[in-house]
């Protein structure tokens, strides 16, 4: 028994972490990611390889019914021994991870200790445990996570005639682009996928791995009064506060580095993704302009010189300036006037420029309300416009291309969930 315990302890010393981030929790996510990099814990890309589920979310913006469904699904998908923690406070990310590890080491088989700090969520845990017992009493399934089930509750697709096998929908058939009758699979993407905008749910109809139909599901989380993390400096300046131009540049730099990290990760360039995120964390930790510029330069050079990256991302998700303007896109996607590759170039340029000026103390012009994803003084938040452009860009592409296109637009779901004070921006959607 002692030996077994010691073995488990050694095995879970660096647990695989599955991050479940709700929209509105960017600040917490960044804190957790920085802490994970520091500890060297691997980030799992799915429940199967995870030991520790880290739920990252604002307490205010916390919906009960819907969300606990997909969280319960995720939790069931993780093989024991497992533990789960809730990170609501960016300052306490390290504590939460430490308590998660302690739970893992202590618990024999996925016992359900909530860290003491988060006792409000016992309700959730009881709910999950109930599920688990049901599962374990049954003979077959220990867990029923699957692609179909990623988003907990299954939403029926009206008009499609689908049979059910073990409660899962069967594929139905439809003509494909070559006029062949092929299976159509309805797959929800998100909200928990590695390198995926937090909270985004796309409903895809796939034939093979070609995307035939896309609907963007409205954001489920209740609106949050906190300004979106990435837009904060500009919104605060517009609200009359003193914000230095350097701080805004630093935030912009980090925001684009965050997006670039996602793009590189989705393009399968783990090394660059890791480096980019390292620099992002340095920028947010307040590195001086000199250091930041020296960190950013090799990244930009490497990304710009990579012929493979260029070969892989050109021609994907072309959004001309005219189309962008029609849909109300105002940010880098409008400037880029082109495909995923040109959007990446725009990000890289902005990162280089903003890294150089992130120490400037001069005050930000309150009239200049352009955040990382576009103008913040329009009736529609910039990410809403990006979301609206998504379906048209995705239809007809391959699954892998679709992921790259989403990453190259990188809509920030904090924006549509944010309901600002009445006088500035109006909520939409």
């Amino acid at each position: 028994m002692e030996l077994r315990r010691a073995l488990v302890r050694a095995a879970v010393a660096r647990p695989g972490v599955l991050l479940a981030v709700s929209p509105g929790a960017t600040r917490q996510r960044l804190a957790v990611e920085a802490e994970l990099a520091l500890r060297g814990w691997p980030c799992a890309s799915g429940p199967a390889e995870a030991d520790l589920l880290v739920v990252v979310g604002d307490r205010e913006g916390q919906g009960e019914g819907e969300e606990s469904d997909w969280l319960a699904g995720l939790w069931r998908g993780i093989p024991a021994p497992k533990a789960r923690v809730w990170v609501t406070d960016p300052e306490r990310a390290a504590d939460a991870l430490a308590s998660g590890l302690a739970d893992l080491v202590r618990g024999e088989h996925g016992t359900d200790h909530a860290p003491d700090a988060h006792h409000e969520h016992h309700e959730h845990h009881e709910h999950h445990e109930h599920h688990e017992h049901q599962q374990n009493d049954g003979t077959a399934a220990h867990s029923d996570h699957s692609g179909h089930d990623m988003h907990g509750g299954h939403h029926g697709h009206a008009g499609h005639d689908m049979g059910l096998i073990e409660g899962l929908p069967m594929a139905d058939r439809a003509d494909d682009r070559d006029g062949l009758r092929l299976d159509v699979l309805h797959v929800p993407l998100g909200p928990v996928l590695a390198d995926w905008p937090a909270g985004l749910i796309l409903r895809l109809a796939l034939q093979g791995d070609i995307v035939q139909e896309v609907t963007v599901e409205p954001v489920a989380t209740p609106p949050s009064p906190r300004p979106p993390f990435w837009d904060e400096p500009w919104l605060r300046a517009a609200g009359g506060e003193h914000v230095s131009r350097g701080d805004a540049a630093r935030r912009l730099c980090a925001a684009h580095l965050d997006s670039l990290g996602r793009l590189f990760a989705v393009a399968g360039w783990d090394d660059m993704a890791a480096r980019t995120r390292h620099v992002r964390d340095r920028a947010l930790a307040g590195a001086a302009a000199v250091e930041l510029a020296s960190l950013v330069r090799p990244l930009i050079r490497r990304a710009e010189r990579s012929r493979t990256l260029r070969w892989l991302t050109t021609g994907l998700g072309t959004l001309t300036a005219e189309q962008a303007r029609q849909r109300g896109v105002t940010g880098p996607a409008l400037v880029a006037d082109g495909d995923a590759y040109s959007r990446m170039r725009v990000w890289l340029d902005a990162v280089g420029r903003s890294a150089a000026v992130c120490d400037v103390t001069e005050a930000l012009d309150p009239a200049e309300v352009v955040g990382p994803r576009g103008r913040l003084d329009t009736p529609v938040p910039p990410s809403r416009a990006l979301l609206d452009s998504l379906p048209r860009l995705l239809v007809g592409t391959e699954f892998a291309c679709a992921r790259i296109i989403v990453a190259s637009l990188d809509p920030d779901l904090d924006e549509p969930t944010h309901v600002p004070a009445p006088r500035t921006v109006h909520s939409h959607g």
Binding site: G40, A194, L309, E398, F399, A400
Partner: protein, 314 residues
């Protein structure tokens, strides 16, 4: 050649391969941690980082197996288990120095046939769990297989043609004077590309991509996962090691004994492959298909033709 290999070699071979795979994975882990957290401070830190793959294996071994709803468990299990088996069987004809466990008269064909088992393995592992993302991973590997296999076969046939034999031992003997890589460089490069594709590694890791949450192996946990991902490392080691007898002169070299040369050359190729993965993003399959059919296959044919002409005029 000629000397008979003792029977215990059969048992040593898998252990040797696993050791090599762990060392390679450790090297890769050190590089990965370097990208994430900067250079290691001390030797001890490097050692901790290098031990990461071992810890991961342990972590998955204490995990309970899980299953997805309506999954075909036997299929997924067979898929996961088949991968390491295919790698070890392919390694049977691999000479260490000048001796392999079995120097079959048609060793090159045997090697290629065992590799083809990986097709079945990855497809089954992707299909079994009844999950969309792992299914997409499986699809991707089939497409990748179609793209790499033809140039790959042409490349290894070129080496066999140069030696006028399908016996791996004779291919090595034929390179006593001049390594094949010198006069069949195109075949060598194509072989390296397909070696990575075979182990769905490096720029060809789309079947197990992070964008599909681990793809073909994404739903595997516990021992199944160790078998599948471990099998992939074994496959990479075996594919890299096979380039040594095919193109890099096997155990031939000055001063050092044959086995040392084999190890040295294999390590170099492996280090190169690990480095390539760090330097290049994942190639999307449909782009690679284009490249494979339009560029690589014709190039491989021309290379084979050149070698055939040289051999006929000898």
């Amino acid at each position: 050649m000629g000397e008979r290999t003792p029977l215990w070699a059969v048992f040593v071979l898998p252990a040797l391969l696993v050791g090599a795979a762990l060392v390679t994975a450790g090297f890769d882990a050190v590089l990965a941690a370097g990208a994430r957290r900067g250079r290691p401070g001390s030797l001890r830190e490097t050692a901790v980082r290098a031990a990461e793959p071992g810890r991961q294996v342990l972590r998955h071994l204490v995990q309970q197996p899980r299953r997805t709803r309506a999954s075909d468990l036997p299929l997924a299990r067979i898929g996961a288990g088949l991968l390491p088996v295919a790698a070890v069987l392919a390694a049977v004809v691999l000479p260490l120095g000048f001796r392999s466990v079995s120097d079959l008269p048609e060793g090159i064909v045997w090697f290629n046939a065992m590799e083809a088992l990986a097709w079945a393995a990855v497809w089954l592992a992707g299909w079994g769990p009844n999950s969309t993302l792992s299914l997409i991973g499986g699809y991707r590997f089939l497409a990748q297989g179609l793209a790499y296999e033809l140039p790959h076969m042409l490349a290894i046939t070129t080496a066999a043609l140069g030696a006028e034999s399908l016996r791996v031992g004779e291919v090595v003997d034929a390179q006593a004077g001049l390594w094949f890589v010198v006069w069949m460089p195109v075949a060598f490069v194509i072989y390296l590309l397909s070696a990575m594709a075979m182990a769905f590694w490096g720029p060809f890791d789309q079947p197990a991509g992070r964008d599909v949450a681990g793809g073909a192996g994404g739903e595997l946990s516990g021992a199944d996962r160790v078998l599948f991902l471990g099998g992939r490392w074994l496959l990479l080691v075996v594919a890299a090691a096979f380039s040594v007898p095919l193109f890099l002169g096997g155990g031939h070299g000055p001063l050092l004994p044959g086995w040392a040369w084999t190890v040295l050359k294999t390590a170099t190729v492996l280090a190169f492959l690990v480095g390539v993965r760090r330097a290049i993003p994942t190639v999307r399959i449909e782009r690679y298909l284009e490249l494979a059919w339009v560029v690589l296959t014709p190039l491989a044919i021309v290379q084979a033709l050149v070698v055939a002409v040289v051999v006929l005029n000898r």
